[in-house]
Structures are given as structure tokens and as C-alpha cells.
Assembly symmetry: C2
């Protein structure tokens, strides 16, 4: 009836993403045994009650304000349990605060669920919080991922709206590297109603509509600001799409559906080392696998830029003492040789 009856821990379960996640996992028949954790007891209990009032058959949903209890022997973890960015706070402040949370999460995973098969980190800056979680967790790189797909689905949606075509007529959208502002938008594989984006940029039209180089730049900028646009329109940051896409990632890990978007993954081959970023990924029987995305010279230059930006964030996190120096990672996590 559900794809898995193994324990799934949802962290930040009283929040908008976390509570939607629990509903999504049950509603899609993905997971039945869910432990909801949040430090805020009242809202957490209220969120759990809402789920109970749905009366999902066969569900075993519990809630706790004890993170260790939530994580104990969890097979899967999805965490939206970061601190939100508050007024007056810089991105830098947010990174430090959330990397502290990520370090603690990694240490708790090592202690309470060292056999965890997939941990998905949603809270921002996800590339760095995911990396920090991984290093401290002792898990293999294939078992920790970050939600990166939103940039790609936003690009798909923006192109569909520009050309007035159904969204699934836009294929091959993929952004790699860092999530958000530093993402590398790959144009190589994109087609709109069968026409390659390269041809469209060279003057081809779809439904009578073209795309100039300037419009394409604007559109990429729109995607980079996709999260901010939601906040402006709804008065709150996006929560439905992160919850839905994370549920789909778990379905991919469980082998039910192919997850068609790039995921954040630990990268330590070739020119990219000791980093977590979105690559060309797929879920295999042992977890997340990746290969280098294929793109033209511009695409690859954007990816290298994005990598460079992420290494700066990583090195600042090392300087803050929240990640060990690179040559000590293997001591903290023997899987990261």
C-alpha cells in the first residue's frame, strides 16, 4: 500500500514545508511510518493532529520534540529544519546559523541512524548545509542530497509561459552547480515543443514566438529570483514545491519513479573536489550516482564559476570551525576518502 514502511524522519515538521511533506508522503503512498520532529511543541502537535484528521489508512505517524527519538534508526530523513532568514540578517549570518544546525544534525545521524539510506537537506544555503551534514554524519556521499530541482522546474515553467505551451512540452531543463543565485543554467539539452533552444536563440519560433538573447538572459534572471518572487506574491517562501519535489526524490531513491531533475550530490572527482552541488544525477540501488553534465563552453564556464563560488562558501565554513579542514574530512567521515 505504501512504497516503504521503513521509518522516515521529517525534521522541521511543524513548518510549512515539513507539514506539507508529511501529507505528501502519505497522500502519494510513498511512506507510512513517519516521525515528525520540531522544537516547537504546540505547532508540531497541531500539524500532527491535522495529519491524524486525514485518517490515512495504515499510517503510523508520531511526533516528538526530541530529535534523537525522531532520528533513531530512521532509514530516510528529509529536513526543512533550518532557521529562516530574519529581518536584518545577512546571507552570511544565515549560513553560519544553519551550518551549526547542519553540523549538529550530522553528529546526531552518526549517533542515532548510521545506516540511513538517504538524507535530503532542504534548508538554505542547501549546498553548504548539505555538505556540512554529510561530513559530520559519517554517511557515504551517495546517501546525502540537497533539493536542487526547483531551479530547473522554475526554468521549465518560465519557458512554457513565455512560449504559451504546456509545461511538459519544455524538456531538458537543468541547472547545475549551486542552488539559487549561483546556479549554472545549461541550455544545451533544452527543447521547446521539439525545437532545440539553440535554434530558437538563432531565430526559430515556437507558436509564433521567438526568444532573443536579451529575453533569455532576463528569463534566467527570473529563475534565479524565483524564490524571492514567491515571497513577494504569497507573503511567504515557497513550501509546496519543495515538499512535493522532495517526496519525488524519495520515490526515486525507493526505485518507484525516475526522478528527472538534478539533485545536489557530493562531488570529489576530476576538477571538482570536496563539494556538494547539483550534477547529472540518478538514483541507483546504492543511492545517488552522478556524472558530469554535458554542455557547451558557456555552460561549462558557468558550472566552474558556480563551483568556485561554492568553494568560497565551504572555505568560510571551515574558517568558522563548522567544517574541519579538507585533509581531516576522512577522519570525521571515513567514507569521504
Amino acid at each position: 500500500m505504501y512504497l516503504t514502511n521503513e521509518k522516515v524522519a521529517i525534521l522541521g515538521a511543524a513548518g510549512a514545508i515539513g507539514s506539507n511533506l508529511v501529507q505528501s508522503l502519505l497522500q502519494t503512498g510513498t511512506a507510512s511510518r513517519i516521525s515528525m520532529y520540531d522544537p516547537l511543541e504546540g505547532p508540531l502537535k497541531g500539524s500532527a493532529e491535522e495529519i491524524y484528521h486525514c485518517s490515512f489508512p495504515g499510517a503510523q505517524v508520531t511526533w516528538t520534540i526530541d530529535e534523537a527519538e525522531a532520528l533513531a534508526d530512521a532509514a530516510y530523513i528529509i529536513t526543512a529544519g533550518g532557521a529562516p532568514r530574519r529581518a536584518g540578517m545577512t546571507r552570511e549570518d544565515l549560513r553560519k546559523d544553519n551550518c551549526k544546525i547542519a553540523r549538529n544534525l550530522g553528529q546526531q545521524i552518526k549517533r542515532h541512524c548510521p545506516a540511513c539510506k538517504l538524507a535530503v537537506v532542504i534548508f538554505n544555503p542547501a549546498d553548504i548545509t548539505g555538505l556540512t551534514t554529510l561530513v559530520h554524519s559519517g554517511l557515504p556521499g551517495s546517501a546525502v542530497s540537497t533539493l536542487a530541482a526547483l531551479d530547473s522546474t522554475r526554468l521549465q515553467s518560465a519557458l512554457a509561459q513565455h512560449f504559451s505551451v504546456a509545461q511538459d512540452q519544455v524538456t531538458g531543463c537543468a541547472t547545475y552547480g549551486g542552488h539559487g543565485e549561483q546556479m549554472a543554467v545549461f541550455k544545451g539539452s533544452i527543447t521547446v515543443a521539439g525545437t532545440p533552444l539553440g535554434e530558437i536563440l538563432d531565430g526559430a519560433t515556437v507558436e509564433g514566438q521567438g526568444l532573443t538573447a536579451g529575453q533569455w538572459t532576463d528569463l534566467q534572471q527570473q529563475v534565479r529570483g524565483g524564490g524571492a518572487a514567491i515571497i513577494k506574491l504569497r507573503g511567504r517562501s515557497s513550501f509546496q514545491s519543495p515538499a512535493h519535489l522532495s517526496t519525488s526524490m524519495l520515490r526515486g531513491r525507493l526505485g518507484a519513479d525516475e526522478f528527472p531533475w538534478p539533485c545536489g550530490t557530493y562531488v570529489n572527482r576530476g576538477e571538482f573536489r570536496h563539494i556538494m552541488m547539483a550534477m547529472d544525477t540518478r538514483f541507483g540501488p546504492d543511492g545517488l550516482e552522478y556524472s558530469m553534465p554535458e554542455g557547451d563552453a558557456d555552460d561549462m564556464a558557468a558550472l566552474r564559476n558556480s563551483y568556485k563560488h561554492l568553494t568560497n562558501l565551504r572555505d568560510q565554513t571551515i574558517a568558522d570551525g563548522l567544517l574541519p579542514p579538507l585533509d581531516e574530512w576522512k577522519d570525521v567521515n571515513p567514507n569521504l576518502v
Copy 2:
């Protein structure tokens, strides 16, 4: 891939219930063609964008601030588009405001989608707003329903928590008549882990736990205040469970799953006349069918009380001019002979 590709109109789609509904309909593979309506353009667009960013394959989701456009030829309608109760507002004020919205909705249905197969009214007081919608819509009684199931699922959940058993080990929970404070809790069919509630009230135990008459009264009171409890815990009224249960009602109407809870339905047989209330319902090929629930003398007395309360609300709504006098209903809606 979806149970139906016919048009579903979601009213109040920028709100918490409405936006969750759209996600739920797509996520469960229930409906692909959804028109989102709300008068608040920014939040509506933001809610639609969130759905686009989920990238549901085959989805055709549009949004509009023109209610007529949303309703045009809709086969199904689910509406959470009532006004919320604001500070200083009485229940009476809420009834009047929302019955105006319901009357307008009924008139719009008559004009724009007279072949609508099911309209589910969620906004409170749902029994009266649903009835008002029905009378003005011209639809048959079998095509308009209200969300009543929450009282029953809350009762199931409360009993499961009291006895520390899995929720689906509590069966036969059903509340009839009005939704909320005036509901009639039927105890006749309830069993906990196989033991009838009547035997438990006579001293039997489940998992070492009994239930005194006083505890049973408290528990019913807790269910009556279930909505208020969520507001207190989460700081907002429940939205996930209404959205999920309404999605399940539509699945019932589409013949995919049996909807196992009572629905609000138009009742005009026997001792109950010209009213909408929760009865023993099932979805047949032509819409919602009902029969009189079976209960002991106490249960039936509670149902008659609930009916009496609803007739008062109905008669006040007639006095307000928002419903025609009873003998004119058939002129406004020839299906209500």
C-alpha cells in the same frame, strides 16, 4: 494517468485550503485540468507558480480572478472561497456574509456550469452555505455536498489516542446532522480494536484502558472543539485535512475509491425536510445518495436536535432574504420538488 481530465474549478485557490487542494488533486493523480480562482491576484499567481514549480506531468493548471471563467463548463467544483471569521465577528455575521457568497456561487453555477456533477462546499457554516449554493444553483441535490467528514475523523483520532491503538483500529466513527458544535455523534457502530464502544462503556477494556461515561462526554466535547484546538496549536485553522478529505470525496465521486465518511447532503424525505446535513452517504453513478443513519434512541435524539438547530439557521437565512421561502425553492431550482 489522472482519474479525470474534466475541468475542476477550485475556488479560494490562493488560500491555505485551496492551494493545498490543487496540490492534492495533482499529487494523488485525481485531476489534471484545474482552474484556480481567487479574488486576490498576487497570492493566487504565487499559489499557481508553486504548482508549476512542482512540474506535474500532464497537468493543465490555469488561474484567473474572473469567477465566471473559472466556473465555465466545470465538471467539478470544490470551494473554500468563503470569508474567514474576523475578530469581533459573531457566527451570525459569518453566516450572513458567507451565505451571500454562497448565493452568488449558486447563481454563477446556474449560468456557467449547469451540468456540474459535484460541487463540494467547505466554507462555514458549511451546512447552510452548501444548502444556499444548492438552492440557487439549479443542480440536483445529489450534485452538491459539504465537507462533514472532519468530525468523524477527529473522533476516530481522539479514540485511537485515548486507547493507544493505531487509528485504523478504530472503526465505525460517524457524526451526522450539522457540522461542528451541533453534530450528532453516533456511538452505535464504533469499535475499538474489535470491541464495540457500548461494551467498553459498560466496563470492557482495550489495551488495559477503559472509557467512563464522563470521559466519553469529554471526548465528544474535544471533537466538537477540534477545529478551535488546531487554531490554538498552529495559529491558523485547519487546512491540510479539509483539502485531503475533499480530494478523497472527489475520488469517491469518480468511482476510484469508496469515501468512507458521512458527507453533507440535501435531505428531503421522512421527518427531515428542506435541509442539508450529514447522513449515511455513498457516491453512486449519479452522485451522492443517502440513507437514514442507524442508531439507538440517544443517537437519534441527537440527530433530531441537530436537525432542529439547522432548521433555525436555515429559517434565519430565509428571513435574511438569502434563501427563498420553502415553497418557492422549486421555482428557483426545479430539481428540489
